[in-house]
């Protein structure tokens, strides 16, 4: 069966520090991968999605970037964090348009 792993679960980082969040999927190949951010416990905003290695689409201009160095690995990064980057970050994968599975999320607090 397929599983999705996301870490760390919580992270507290100072303003101006770098960020790296990692997401990996097991049990499938060539998944579509997504990063979402949830601010203030409400709506989910799509940040990036990827349909293959090295193929990244950005949905909104921001302080973050994403990379997909391996087929089942998706990384969210920042060179210098802002206070506004705080939130709950969710990774997801799909094989097609008929089903999406989410990771357990990372709570990022920028102080």
């Amino acid at each position: 069966s397929q599983t999705i792993h996301q870490w760390p679960a919580t992270l507290v980082q100072p303003v101006g520090s770098p960020l790296s969040l990692e997401c990996t999927v097991e049990g499938t190949s060539n998944p579509n991968l997504y990063w979402y951010r949830q601010a203030a416990g409400r709506g989910l905003q799509l940040l990036f999605y990827s349909v293959g290695i090295g193929q990244i689409s950005s949905e909104v201009p921001q302080n973050l970037s994403a990379s997909r160095p391996q087929d089942r690995q998706f990384i969210l990064s920042s060179k210098k964090l802002l206070l506004s980057d705080s939130g709950f970050y969710l990774c997801a994968w799909s094989r097609d348009r008929y089903g999406y599975t989410f990771g357990s999320g990372t709570r990022l607090t920028v102080v």
Partner: protein, 115 residues
């Protein structure tokens, strides 16, 4: 542009009563619609989806949803609410072509079930 609206920030019901969480959508082409539930500081759990076929979709934990094309709605329902159903509920639509789609979410509705 594809969009999903959840008009209620919060829905309050008494345990044992039926519940409805509303969702309307705007998409071009055939809509692929989903409901997810989120408990505090947790990821999203899939409840049910409509791709094609019967307008009444049955899902996990006794939830169901009715697809109404003329009203562009996909309301989530449950005949008898439980206190444990209290959570944040998201409606979403898959937008894309072929096998590639992005999931676009509504703003979420907090369901509060009181004993």
């Amino acid at each position: 542009a594809q969009s999903v609206a959840q008009p209620e920030d919060q829905v309050n019901v008494a345990e044992g009563n039926p519940l409805t969480v509303k969702c309307t959508y705007s998409v071009s082409g055939n809509p692929y619609l989903f409901w997810y539930v989120q408990y505090p500081n947790r990821g999203l759990q899939f409840l049910l989806k409509y791709i094609t076929g019967d307008n009444l979709v049955k899902g996990s934990y006794g939830f169901e949803a009715e697809f109404n094309k003329s009203q562009t709605s996909f309301h989530l329902k449950k005949p008898s609410a439980l206190v444990s159903d209290s959570a944040l509920y998201f409606c979403a639509v898959s937008h894309g072509s072929g096998n590639t789609g992005k999931l676009i979410f509504g703003q979420g509705t907090t369901l509060q079930v009181k004993p």
